[in-house]
């Protein structure tokens, strides 16, 4: 299979993160865009990269909040208040 792997095992592309987390790429993309899934960008093409452990921990937290029936808006608010509060 012709898949590009990130050099560092702890730094993942969105496709790799989808595979290890079991979360769909479209969902990860949305979480990234609304600012609840941290990423870094590198290279000239500004490709988004995710720290594996940090991202998996964050996705687990999101899942727990969803389990408590929080909406995406509330989850976004939760992380913002955690960050700035």
């Amino acid at each position: 299979m012709n898949t590009k792997k990130s050099n560092d095992d702890n730094i993942l592309s969105i496709g790799e993160l989808a595979k290890v987390s079991g979360v769909r790429q479209s969902t990860l993309k949305y979480y990234t865009e609304i600012g609840i899934l941290p990423f870094s960008q590198d290279g000239e093409r500004l490709i988004r990269r995710y720290k594996k452990d940090e991202s998996l921990k964050r996705l687990d937290e999101i899942m727990k909040l969803k389990e408590r029936r929080m909406t995406i808006k509330e989850i976004t608010g939760h992380f913002k208040s955690t960050l700035y509060g």
Binding site: G22, V23, R24, Y30, M63, K66
Partner: protein, 173 residues
């Protein structure tokens, strides 16, 4: 006549109603016959549940697929999908067996199977590949029955057509 304005919660309920109307006991037993899937008397609950589960996942995927162009933005899409998924979990899933997280991961892995199948090139229709996925999941291997494939394709096309037609009447506010 104007569109009926509904909240995200109400919209999720409409989607749930759609699934629950499709997956009645009577419908599942009828589909089992049409698909050549045997519900054996000595393990009827297990066989019934297997078919129910596959059709539930398929319906969830079809709802997502049909609604793709319905939402006005990503926030609306994800919120409605989330509410719908929660209704499915609350009303259909054995909580002793699956936590919300376990259920979500299981469903996602199965939905990805359909996502990949629909992207596959096929000389007639990618739905053929989608039905192959269902075929393999139900029978363990691809049961080479033209009738199965055609019945499933008809189910998918009618589901999308009717649901798409019904959704035209609504607007999420």
């Amino acid at each position: 006549m104007g569109k009926k304005k509904v909240t995200k919660k109400q919209f999720a309920e409409i989607l749930f109603y759609w699934v629950s109307s499709d997956l009645t006991e009577k419908n599942i037993k009828r589909k089992a016959k049409e698909l050549g899937f045997r519900i054996r008397p000595w393990r009827s609950i297990k066989d019934f549940n297997k078919l129910f589960f596959e059709l539930l996942i398929l319906d969830m995927w079809l709802i997502e697929y049909t609604c793709e162009n319905f939402y006005s933005n990503d926030e609306e899409k994800f919120e409605c999908e989330e509410l719908f998924n929660q209704l499915i979990y609350d009303r259909y899933v054995d909580k002793e067996r699956y936590s919300y997280k376990e259920w979500t991961i299981l469903v996602t892995s199965l939905l990805i199977g359909y996502d990949e199948a629909i992207k596959t090139d096929h000389p007639s229709t990618p739905l053929w590949i989608v039905t192959n996925v269902i075929n393999r999941r139900l029978f363990g291997e691809i049961n080479k029955s033209l009738s199965f494939q055609m019945t499933m394709i008809a189910h998918i096309e009618l589901f999308i057509e009717y649901l798409g037609g019904a959704l035209i009447n609504y607007e999420v506010e």
